[in-house]
Symmetry: C2
Subunit: 204 residues, 2 copies
């Protein structure tokens, strides 16, 4: 079935995910350039990995793959002109950021906030698992950090993020970033273009 | 260090590997278009997975990822105009084909043979683990199948393929296809363009 208006792309991401970094830094601009609406869908990889029987990130449990990934990310960031510094801790906890992104997924500042957390983790090697670091980033963006943190830590927000993570698992998502166009999943930074093409173009 | 002549690309592949199918079907044409020399490097994924502590293909041990992979391959083949039929057995043994490709990696017909085995497995659902199927493919290509099979099953060839597989593991290869430009590894069908760019262009 073809439609005249593009389908939206749901952007499923987790702040600790390495390949989400280059993807998130460009997704909003790439989607806008094609007129594709975008929905931010933060989720938690921990429960997603657990659903696959994995106790940790595959990049931690599989050292050979992990070594490749760091070099690959370095090359991708260089090609995209993105600053990159390997985080001194990986994966870095990011629960507060994920809750904020969940609670404010349609705020006008959500894209800027999400990108700022990624650069803090992957370019500045900042301790984004520390609430005061996130508060400072919100302040830097001229946002009301106190109100935002309060709204992001209500029981509703906490449960909502868990429910969104369960929805990810139920839809077949197993890693991040994943771009979803209806039931079609596109996994990985390198699938962003295919997802946007799927959202706009005729389907095979 | 930049050179005026392109570096060569070593194409590491395994006949049972799904993502190797679209990669192998286009790698020779893409490399030739950029003037990049190519070396065919067949290897066996079994020992490579074992070195990572995996008993089988990740697409078999992780059903969620496996389900995604089949849909993804279907979409990629459609986009590349490649015929595709999910093999009724996966992964399909392909030891004889790998030995032939190892023993004749610089024959003028190697590209045509390799592509024919992939289409037999992934488009025709042929039993490429049966020697008579491979013999028929060689005959179809107007090659001396008897001589080729004899040369491909000597102890030297058998040990040579195992040694090449050990060399893959030693160089950090963990999956197929992998494109190597010197020590730089590019894993996956979606990294072919990056590997060719690395072989030809200035390095970051």
């Amino acid at each position: 079935m073809s439609t005249s208006t593009p389908n939206r792309v749901d952007v499923w991401f987790e702040f600790a995910s390495t390949y989400s970094y280059p993807a998130i830094m460009r997704v909003e601009a790439e989607a806008q350039a094609r007129g594709v609406p975008l929905i931010w869908r933060p989720f938690l990889l921990g429960p997603v990995f657990a659903a696959q029987g994995l106790a940790d990130s595959p990049f931690k449990t599989n050292e050979i793959k992990g070594a490749y990934m760091w070099r690959d990310i370095e090359r991708i960031c260089a090609a995209d002109d993105l600053p990159f510094q390997r985080p001194s801790r990986f994966p870095r906890g990011s629960l507060l950021s994920a809750r904020i992104a969940f609670a404010f997924s349609d705020a006008r500042w959500i894209g800027a906030f999400v990108r700022r957390v990624y650069t803090a983790n992957f370019a500045d090697d900042a301790d984004v698992d520390q609430p005061e670091v996130i508060v400072a980033l919100l302040d830097e963006l001229d946002l009301d950090s106190q109100d935002i943190v309060t709204a992001a830590t209500t029981p509703d927000t906490k449960l909502g993020l868990l429910a969104q993570t369960e929805a990810a698992i139920a839809s077949g998502i197993f890693g991040a970033p994943t771009f979803a166009v209806g039931p079609e999943l596109f996994w990985g930074n390198d699938r962003l273009e295919a997802a946007l093409a799927w959202a706009t173009g005729p389907k095979p």
